[in-house]
């Protein structure tokens, strides 16, 4: 059985299902109660679980730090940070405690926490509301970093994240919350963390993209005069390196697309992993089609900042024509 759902509905349904399944889950964050979250991801939950859904004061470090305590106690916190750009306020708690609780205690403690946050640009949002810092989090050992791109994957990945004994930064592309609707399995649906999705098979060039960029890529590859393989890693950390390498070994060409700034972004890591283990298969440099190394601009300039169809197409062409 499957219902046609939007991403935001998939988030909401998954939270509800998991809360029903496991009474140690606690959902909290700014405006997640009566208001149901600024994007309505938690709508209605407080009525069903008044003792497990809480509005939070405006204190991100506090939200995450409290979660460490909840997790140490044995609960499973699923906090929402209102926008990924405000996870920075909690960065120290994430880096020093969330990510390390297991390793620093040799497994005596662990931190089963899923930090949900709206992520990425493209919705004409306010300053700081369009951040993509997945690479920064991928650089912190002990964290898992997940970016779902479809309603069904959202359910599968969020389920897997909440059940994962380790902490997950779950970044939900705001642009996709309401833009796509597709069948989402009604029954238990788990997409294992660390498994990429080969969204479209092809022979000539591999394009790796996640979040909203996955859809932008899919929207144009039909017009490309070549057979394009599209891979959505879904989990940014741990990355499904083998899926990417298998594809690149086949195509010999690769383009990585992301919204985050280029320098020290995930495209660099993916390029480096290809270099490590598939260099000789490369027939062209891996093309990085990314946000520029400028602060994410206010929305009047955002479409100039993010990889658009032209830039992605040009990247694919450069890979093909090298």
């Amino acid at each position: 059985m499957a219902n046609r759902l939007r991403t935001i509905e998939a988030v909401r349904g998954t939270l509800r299902d998991e809360m029903a399944r496991d009474d140690s889950i606690v959902v909290y964050g700014q405006d997640v109660g009566r208001n149901g979250g600024v994007f309505r991801a938690t709508q209605g939950l407080i009525d069903e679980y008044p003792n497990r859904v809480y509005d939070s004061p405006v204190a991100e470090a506090g939200i995450i730090g409290l979660g460490v305590g909840l997790a140490a106690y044995g609960l499973k916190p699923v906090p929402e940070i209102e926008f990924a750009g405000f996870t920075y306020q909690a960065f120290h708690q994430i880096q020093q405690h969330v990510a390390r609780l297991r390793s620093r205690t040799r497994g005596e403690f662990h931190c089963q926490m899923t930090i949900r946050a709206p992520f990425g640009g493209g919705i004409r949002a306010l300053e700081h509301h369009s951040e993509s810092f997945e690479a920064g989090y991928a650089h912190v050992p002990g964290l898992k970093v997940v970016v779902p791109s479809t309603p069904a994957d959202t359910k599968g990945l969020l389920t897997a994240s909440i059940r994962d004994p380790d902490p997950v930064i779950f970044l939900e592309p705001t642009r996709l919350y309401r833009s796509i609707r597709e069948p989402v399995p009604e029954e238990d649906h788990v997409v294992p963390l660390g498994e990429a999705d080969v969204v479209r098979e092809g022979e000539d060039v591999t394009v790796v993209a996640w979040g909203a960029m996955r859809h932008r890529v899919l929207g144009l590859v039909d017009d490309v005069d070549a057979s394009v393989e599209v891979i959505d890693p879904r989990t940014i950390a741990p990355l499904d390196t083998d899926a990417i390498l298998d594809s690149v070994r086949k195509t010999g060409r690769c383009v990585v697309v992301h919204e985050a700034p280029r320098t020290a972004g995930m495209a660099a890591e993916i390029t480096a992993r290809i270099n490590d283990r598939a260099l000789l298969y490369l027939e062209a440099p891996v093309q990085r089609v990314t946000g520029y190394d400028v602060p994410y601009p206010l929305f009047a300039r955002e479409s100039a900042y993010e990889p658009d169809d032209d830039r992605i197409r040009a990247g694919i062409e450069r890979a093909l024509e090298f």
Binding site: Q30, D31, G33, R34, N35, G36, V38, D55, S56, P57, V58, A59, E60, A61, G62, G85, F86, Q89, R124, A125, L126, E127, H128, H129, R262, T263, Q287, R288, V289, T290, Y292, D293, V294, P295, P297, L298, F299, A300, R301, E302, S303, A304, Y305, R311, A314, G315, R318
Partner: protein, 358 residues
Amino acid sequence: MPRETAVDFAIDRVQVLAPDGSVDEELDPDLPEDRLLGLYRTMKLSRRLDERAIALQRRGELGTYAPAIGQEAAQVGSAGALSESDWMVTSFRETPAYLTRGTPPHVLLWYAMGMEEGAAVPRETRNMPPSVPVGSQALHAAGLGWAQEIRDEDAATIGYFGDGATSEGDVYEALNLAGVYSSHAVFFCQNNQYAISVPREKQTKAETLAQKAISAGIEGVQVDGNDVLGTYAVTRDALESARGGDPVLVEALTYRRSLHTTADDPSVYRLEEEEAEWEARDPIERFEAYLRDRGALSDERIAEIEASIEDELAEEIERAKEGAQRIDPADMFEYVYATAPPELERQRADFGGESDGE
């Protein structure tokens, strides 16, 4: 000593112009009539700008906009107490405060149009640009006030934030550091009763927000935030104290009468009765009644002011739109550093189509 009181504190609450129109003689700042009318006009201008901005947003001409409707007395009274040599540090809902400090409406509209031009507040005006990360700017106010202390300047800094912001570590650190460094800062907390949907009572168990000052050993005071004479008088005194190195936290009790932003729907989380209660306490109406009472305003004069505001806004909105036509996205590369490093130059060239490689 077994158990004894080590120290005690009190938080005062101040009101100058009461809802019934009475004025406390002793606290009355005794402003000349043209100043009073100036404050009044700015409050009206701000209200009208907010209304027009909401309408523009609904038509897709602005992005998310945060109106200050209901908070005009809090902001115009407090910003009105600043002198030109003082600095102002704002959050994202300070339209009335910016207008008081002379920032033209089209600049504020630019910010809401998603243009950095709207945050390019001229440095000479001693106004900082808007700050979206809640509470983060309180530290900048503490820092500016510290600079004034270091340079021994007879000036102060006002830092605005909301009730929600008082839960952020940054705000507490700002209060504490201001105390430690004798920063010339006045922290002006507009307690408009909501942080998006979260009511003040869920933000903290503290009875007042002014008492957060006690944690820093600095003075805290509450003022009726819908009383423009009160906010003026309290801020004036606080600034005086701050100029001498004693920072102050002012909590202005007010109400966000409109939406959190144009992306928000308050009917989900609050009652109409509550909104109606606060409508009855509207700051502009209270001030207008007072000005009429003392003969400074008449129907005619009000009509004139309203007409001049309409004219001004029509022009400013036009100017904002014109400016929006002229933006060049390529200039996003311009201001990252004083001089763009080579890699950024490569990216700029790529953006401009000058290069065929990324």
